[in-house]
Symmetry: D2
Subunit: 424 residues, 4 copies
């Protein structure tokens, strides 16, 4: 299998030496756009979630989850983009999750950088690395505190509009409205994104039970397609198995309605068999003790195959994905795509690199059969395999969800603690 | 608590713009050396293991485990150094694991880069980032295929000598002989390292049962101190709990012998309650399905406290450690050290950042009591909590361990597979 | 709380001394029949499954599962009846499971005893012990090999008729058609049972997915009520949680159809969260490694409460139940029933007997809060928490299910083993 | 393999009809005594623990754990003896555990029956059933509250003497001092037992860490042999694996001291890998949530083999054992003993009875390979595999252990609860 010539420009020489991206690189020959690829039946590999990966690397704060690192620590963001590109990603999503002004203000992150600065920096970084390979830049918007706090449709749309103005100015290749728990807000986002004339993908963070108002996956998908999305699907909140299942329900809904769409999944890299409708947020382990749930590369290959078999062609990841997880997707679908990702030069299919291990009994693990059948131990004999999720059962409009800028006060925390104790 | 002013020079402005490190930065004011720090009772935070972290990022091949990325993908290695520095590391270990010529040749990694080139590049990267903060550079050597294949003491020492010549030329701050399964080879390494006049640390990858020849941890430690090591301890192969326990046995041995030393631990970031003497190599999950065993940040805080209480003052990590694991060590010991690491600007002690989460019930998790008591679920109801390790029971000199340059042949693999089947 | 005066006649004096039951005892004053009790809103506590309990005691052979012990080892069967009575059972089911002639012949168990002898002995034993307390005798029939082998309705009904002739002659108090995987066969059984004029209960061994032909629990229940059953419900094959859930679906179906019935559950005493439609038969642990799944007495109290809350009033057990499990049901519902069972003289609610334990820290466990919240460990760190069931997906009429008298031949076993290997 | 002709007298005819045992039966031909059997190298199969088995059947109260059922419900005790005999037991232990007067008074159980009555009834029942087959009667004494409360050696010995007087009068075949946590008390018991002239076995409830005063298993065994015990070993408190390991240590100690003895194990039927020195009493699941830890019959066969290989020839069980567990021991050692137990008529080796199961895929489980390799699931995905034991670390003489007659008061319970909370 041919290994993809990884980079159009030699990053070691150019990027290392000159730092900021040069005009010459931006002029790289035109690539097929996202819809041309999907229409042609190509597999498009997405990237992984930046907030979780950069939290582990020390550049994102869990809780606010805002992306100021795009402006504050660009070298860290650029490096992560490069690793996903090298792993096989065809899409560089701008690191603009929760970069709407209402969220940034809410979370106290506009002191050093304005929302516009963060969005611009994120676009530049994504473009710089996309140009180093065969990747497109996708500008992303996500759900807003304004919607949860019951602001008007106009107010919420104005929030999206501000981010999109930057994406248009920076000429991203297409747009993604992702991480929406309420299909209504996602529809509003799609409507705003459509005004740009660029291809639009829409991705909800829901499971088989539907959105937080109980709209089924099938109905959600139909509404998003009618709102103008050409690609619909699921990201975040659930494990790959659940997300693929949910996208299948979306596909059935769309087809039953006589409509057409492309499909995407960008699930968690965490096993979540015990989740309820709210997804992994409600797991007691969220967000700081999720380690034992992390998927292995072999789990990822299984996911890639199942997604492919379900007719999904935009296959990526979200929170918990590391570059090697994306590489596993690209390796599983190498024969369908016709090539291996650049990063496979440092990997062998099904552990074949182990044939060069020092210990002969480790060399004996260099085979598909071994890794596919292995049920890995947790190393945690005092821990269970499933958790009982919190279940507060509130959604948009509930007083508990009115967003506040301040950290939780001691009194608030006390009330919450009591509610939580009763819940368990 | 004061957050450490992270960097002596502003990396965003200087490093980003100019790429390679300038002379001015190298001239940074002299730091206290490793022994001065330990003699003064300071806590020295180590870094994490590079081969596993960079394997996940796509730059190291599992199996050979060689560090050619230092020369091949310097931007990736530099970024990892920076993340550990930011997380609180006081030691930048040169990425020279398995960078001895016999290993590199053995594993087919000398086509593009010579051993000398790799060792030199690794020294430059470690120095560049060490100079950005309060960190020292440690040149590292590790066990050799030559020893396993029963080469003579002179031959093995010549191998170490070649690497050390580079370390002397690049003027590293101190030296570490690490990852030795046989104390005899570690003694040889220490003897060579001592010729440089630099401080020497020696770290074995053994557990409470002792080295692969059955020499007890206490006896191992005594031999290493007598060979000239000023710091002795354990790295890799076992989880923090086991490593701290083993270092305690070393300390008892040294004290019983009327000797003096400083102590270090750099354990795995994987729970390994089920390991036998060979450590995690023999776990069926090694190296590609270890995910469910990854320690959380709270597990790491517990480790830091236990290591500190055991009198260990050089506390770091090995395979599996990500920057946030090192940050957890630095946060746990912040009051002892007098400051928080730079990376804590993006973290709050015991999850306090969650006070700004969108969902109130997640905000209720922002407290020590919650995370300390949580027994995280694996999300894998079809998997056990412990595994039965392979146990081939062979060691240095056994025919199975004669190193070969070629990948395992199909015939060899068949024999191994049969042996493995019988073993289980 | 009053402890029920356990026995009408002092078993220690009478039963011990005289062995066979005397006429005087049979003439005990008339009890309320099953429908009078249920119509009055009383809770009727069933007994547990005899084949599994007596297999552990050495009197039933797993595989054939036939009840020849009623004639062969009457003292063992009598003792088990007494233990259930003492635990609070109001129903002594005749130990006539699989005692149809076609099954007995099929399984080679008619050498020493005829079907009639077994059925008669079982009736006598149940009556003897029922008369020692406030219990009724229920004659039971269950699914037949004849149905699975596609015999005609007339043939199958003739099989039931033969058993029922004994029940009528022995004047049992009511009849139960239980353990049917196909509602059609259960309907036939009910039709035959109705000819006796006695109250009839009908209980399927299905889960929420319905019978093996896919008939939903609601539809099954409607058909059974229309066939003449006054009590409908579920027994065997699934854990209490699943059985209660399925009976709820039956109840909804019956109410939706404008019909009326009483409801019963007699679930397994094994946790089966991982079962598919076929129930615990398909679990790899069936029948010889089910131990780790056994419910505790506290699990049983939870079941009793849930069944009661679901409107179920005939609450008992099946395979895996030991007398203490039945006692737990009776203790949980003691306030609803107005008394504790006789066996509670040797028990205290929620572990209160531990207040007299030797060790004070064990005494501290004598409280409801302790036992309700405890998540008991399996003591099996090398075992998972869930299994992947076999799933052969065949049902009545499939060639694999044609019943044979002979044990599986080596050749047949080889074919099965290969199929099983592929399935996993 | 010949199935043992189970019973010398047909229990169905004689025992059923006549109740109390007749003189004719008592006159059965003399059997080889326990030492003759062991000296001849025979395997002696013990029985299982009566308090746990009868607690589940409703005749023993957990907490007091006293054996008044011998007098109060003889039919239940007789039946359990018979089941163990049928399963292959060669030893009928009198059901006299905790039947010393100080214990009975302490636990409020002398209202209906005196200690003497209980001990006499227990002897009669054991003798009656022993005479039905090839079994011996062993009179048993166990540790006393008097010792824990620091009574004098004379006082404690007087307690034993009272029980033994009954055993002598009833002419039991040999004596067992069992369930001692302190070797000193066991020595005293052995000294009293030796005065009878009967063979004496002594069995401690300790693990590899030794008795509660820290005396090693090897030293304990030497002291017991020197006190006059001809058989030494371990019963209760730990799982078979741990007990066999501990007896091995005893054997090494005895042999090193140049002494001779026979060895016995009667372990729990619960997996206890997580126990500390105090054994299963300190597990949070003790005594009411131990179900998931119950050993399967295949676990038992493994135990029988390991015990045999360790040179142990008196192999039985304690708490948690049901008759089928004892049968598994007898089946595993059938070729060594030359016959199968009577109960095997209702069992097939390695599940061979399943060859006659209705479903062909269950028939495919009728083979040793299947059951030996199966790792049974717990069916409890919310539960861990190991627990953290309570560890109060007190022993004989501690104020917490002064025995009291009254149930724990509310105030005492509150103190205990607080201590327990802090401990976890």
């Amino acid at each position: 299998m041919r290994v993809q010539s990884p980079f159009r420009t030699q990053k070691d020489s150019v990027a290392e030496k000159s730092g900021p991206v040069t005009a010459a690189i931006i002029m790289a020959p035109a690539k097929k756009n996202i819809l041309e690829r999907l229409d042609a039946g190509e597999v498009v590999i997405g990237d992984g979630g930046f907030v979780f990966a950069l939290e582990k690397r020390g550049y994102v704060k869990a809780g606010p989850w805002t992306p100021e690192a795009a402006a504050e620590h660009p070298e860290a963001v650029r490096q992560l983009h490069r690793e996903f590109l090298r792993a096989g990603s065809n899409v560089m999503q701008t690191f603009t999750f929760y970069a709407s002004d209402d969220k940034l203000e809410n979370r106290g992150n506009t002191q050093r950088f304005t929302g516009q600065q963060i969005n611009e920096a994120a676009c530049d970084l994504a473009r710089e690395v996309a140009n180093e390979g065969d990747a497109l830049v996708a500008g992303g918007v996500s759900q807003t505190p304004s919607y949860l706090s019951c602001k008007s449709e106009d107010d919420v749309k104005a929030i999206f509009k501000k981010q999109i103005d930057v994406f248009v100015q920076k000429n991203v290749d297409f747009l993604i409205a992702e991480y929406f728990e309420h299909v209504e807000e996602a529809e509003w986002a799609v409507q705003v994104l459509k005004t740009t004339g660029k291809p639009v993908a829409a991705s909800l963070c829901i499971g088989p039970e539907g959105d937080l108002n109980g709209v089924s996956p099938g109905d959600c998908a139909v509404r998003l397609v009618k709102a103008g999305a050409q690609i619909v699907g699921i990201n975040c909140h659930f494990d790959p198995e659940t997300c693929v299942k949910t996208v299948k329900m979306m596909k059935e809904g769309v087809e039953k309605a006589g409509l057409k769409a492309h499909y995407m999944t960008q699930p968690l890299a965490y096993h979540t068999p015990d989740c309820n409708r709210q997804g992994f947020i409600d797991l007691p382990e969220f967000p700081f003790s999720l380690e034992p749930r992390i998927l292995s590369r072999w789990d990822m290959q299984k996911y890639a195959r199942e997604a492919y078999n379900a007719g999904i062609r935009f296959i990526g990841g979200c929170c918990g994905f590391e570059p090697y997880h994306i590489r596993a997707l690209a390796e599983e679908l190498a024969s369908e795509r016709g090539f291996l990702p650049a990063g496979s030069e440092k990997h062998g299919t099904w552990g074949s690199g182990l044939e060069m291990h020092t210990k002969p009994w480790v060399r004996a693990r260099a085979r598909r059969d071994y890794w596919e059948k292995l049920n890995p131990a947790s190393g945690r004999p005092y821990c269970p395999s499933m958790s009982i999720p919190d279940g507060w059962g509130v959604t948009k409009g509930h007083a508990d969800l009115m967003q506040q800028k301040e950290a939780t006060s001691k009194d608030q925390l006390k009330v919450l603690f009591e509610k939580a104790s009763q819940g368990q």
